[in-house]
Amino acid sequence: MSLIEITEVRKRFGENEVLKGINLDVEPGEVIAIIGKSGSGKSTLLRCINGLETIDDGSISVAGAQLLPDELHLRALRLKVGMIFQGFNLFPHLSAGRNVMLSPMVVKKVSAREAEVEARARLEQVGLGHKFDAYPDQLSGGQQQRVAIARALAMKPLALLCDEITSALDPELVNEVLNVVGKLADEGMTLLMVTHEMRFAREVCDRVVFMHLGRVHEIGPPEEVFAHPKTPELQQFLGMT
């Protein structure tokens, strides 16, 4: 059974249908890059998977947890899949360590001591063990994004959704974040990432999904998608025509 099952998903914003029947199954441990022009629906698709957007039709499930619009089901779903955002969205009133500790303590009722041990381990994992007591505004963008990754990991998700997580970073900070994500991929984390980092997608991902006008336009292993794009839209997107 696939870890993430996306079946005939449709999503409308008013008159505008942004997802026009998406089908995508993600296996455990798979790393998938979603590429496409802005407005192609790639971020919306990602946001549907953990219920930040409702869907109008079709179904999404992660490890058996169905996407349904009530709080109980959403909570069950979100316990299985974490998300990292373009804008980091760290909690500015909490230190890095507290950011990581908060959700395990509040949602999973883990004791403060246990949560702290876990938080230190996760910050260590993203190379920020020494920043436990730093506040978000004392960290660089790259460091903030790595704290956000640690925060998501502390909930022990089965999969991570990454929504253009390097797009808001200065160029010299992109790699420190990508390195962390690459390491996660090596360790077998299931990753679904919307990205503009084509080189990263080519090197790290198992499959690349090209979205166009609300549909999965082309899908395949990176060698194939990048070297031999079949459709003119993908060729154009990759700058080959």
């Binding site: 953990n50 219920g51 930040l52 709080e71 959403l74 909570r75 979100r78 316990l79 974490g82 998300m83 955002f85 804008g87 969205n89 760290l90 909690f91 500015p92 009133h93 230190s95 908060l102 959700s103 509040v106 949602v107 506040y135 978000p136 505004d137 956000a148 925060r151 998501a152 909930m155």
Partner: protein, 219 residues
């Protein structure tokens, strides 16, 4: 004819001012509690609750405080509920304060970036957990200056309760005037006492605003 020294006037006004202070505190504390409940309703996910809270707020913001006092003081006895001026004043001011505080605080909650809701949602927090741990701690910082600023309105609002016979600063001033025939002196002192109560509040609101703004730091 009895003569009144300035000290007689001032001391009596000061005694009455205790009631102004007490009524202000009651209205502000009670209004804070009711206002917090209204805030929850106002931003809740249940549409009926949101609607009810917004009707309440619009009613209290859209009618003069004086009318609300009259309705409480003269209206309730028609329903067979006897109310003292003290009770009518306390309840009305509490409800009135709650409506304004809830609306001020709603603005503060809405000023928190959407990403904070999304991040806490994606970490599986429930609505109340998000509010309690992520949104309100940040919103409270923004809320402090306007909340303190509004407390000035509450203090001045208590003056209206003199009309339903609650003996606070303004009512006392009227009584003293009737005995001394020195309205300018008496009301002058009364106004001065109001100013002494309110000025530190508005000043501290300004200082807090500057502090919380300049210290962009969130800790």
């Amino acid at each position: 004819m009895i003569t009144f020294s300035t000290w007689d006037i001032v001391s009596n006004l000061l005694l009455a001012a205790r009631w102004t202070v007490l009524l202000s505190l009651v209205a502000f504390a009670g209004g804070g509690i009711v206002g917090l409940m209204l805030l929850y309703a106002r931003i809740s996910r249940a549409a009926a609750l949101r609607r009810a809270a917004s009707v309440y707020i619009e009613l209290f913001q859209g009618t003069p405080l004086l009318m609300q006092l009259f309705l409480a003081f003269f209206g309730l006895p028609l329903l067979g509920v006897e109310v003292s001026p003290w009770l009518a004043a306390g309840v009305t001011l509490t409800l009135w304060t709650a409506a304004f505080l809830a609306e001020i605080w709603r603005g503060c909650v809405e000023a928190i970036p959407k990403g904070q809701w999304e991040a806490s949602s994606s970490l599986a927090m429930s609505f109340f957990e998000q509010l309690r741990h992520v949104i309100l701690p940040q919103a409270m910082r923004i809320a402090v200056p306007p909340t303190v600023g509004f407390s000035v309105q509450v203090v001045k609002g208590t003056a209206l309760t003199s009309i339903i016979g609650f003996v606070e600063l303004t009512k006392a001033a009227t009584i003293i005037t009737n005995a001394t025939f020195e309205p300018f002196t008496v009301y002058g002192f009364a106004a001065l006492i109001y100013f002494i109560l309110c000025w530190p509040l508005s000043k501290s609101s300004q200082i807090l605003e500057r502090k919380l703004n300049v210290a962009h730091r969130n800790h």
